[in-house]
Symmetry: C2
Subunit: 118 residues, 2 copies
DNA sequence: AGGTCATATAGATGTCCGTCAATGTAAAAT
DNA sequence: ATTTTACATTGACGGACATCTATATGACCT
């Protein structure tokens, strides 16, 4: 009687720490929290809006300037900026009738660490 | 006659390079390409699958082991693994009747650079 | 050959999301 | 006070997506 086919053996050498994802498997809550920021970045329009603000030193940029740059309607720009603020990637500041948006310093460090493959 | 209200002045000091996003505003194509990978990461289930593979050294992990770990159906696991492969974050390798998935080294460097706020 | 096991694919369903036109709001200008 | 300007909110619509059940594929075992 031959030995039955067994499942491929699980490697449980304590894991060679190939990345910070490796430190320990993500729980449901943790995963949800990380994907909240990732989702906010996962839209071409939002990524371009962010890059335009970043391209001016990550300092406060008027929403009016962002409207000129991409070929989308004003409500859509407003919608996306709100999403970026809600995700903690931008802050909003009202100056008179203008709204200014600023990149949150350090907002990406957590994500960058998550993706820190070695 | 008073001077008309003007838009808040645009800061065009060559941008203080606050992050790699800042180097230049992303074009439509570039943004689309970056969000492809980000979208693949923007689901809690996929992020957890990835983290389980990473937690074993980013080496080949049998799909059967991943099925045990999360409380979702087998087709759903298969679906998500395919998406991660399509995004270039995992590679698939068939061994007999088992499928093994491996984290692609360096798949995240581009993303990490994108998020490299200083 | 027939059966079982691991995984993929197909189809269906409900939910989320990006976009827009229309409208609301609030500040500034006339 | 009325109008204009900047921006947000609402509601509608179409497409994308996560998940499931059911079925197909393909490898191994007897």
């Amino acid at each position: 009687m031959k030995a039955p086919a067994q499942r491929p053996e699980l490697i449980d050498e304590k894991a060679t720490e190939c990345c910070s994802l490796a430190s320990s498997p993500l729980g449901a809550g943790e995963a949800e929290r990380m994907t909240a920021k990732l989702k906010a970045l996962s839209d071409p329009t939002r990524l371009r809006l962010l890059s335009h603000i970043a391209a001016q030193g990550c300092d406060a940029v008027c929403a009016c300037d962002l409207l000129d740059v991409l070929d989308i309607s004003q409500p859509t720009v407003s919608h996306h900026l709100k999403k970026l603020v809600d995700a903690g990637l931008l802050t909003r500041e009202q100056r008179g009738k203008w709204a200014h948006y600023t990149v949150v310093r350090g907002a990406f460090t957590e994500l960058r660490e998550l993706l820190d493959l070695r």
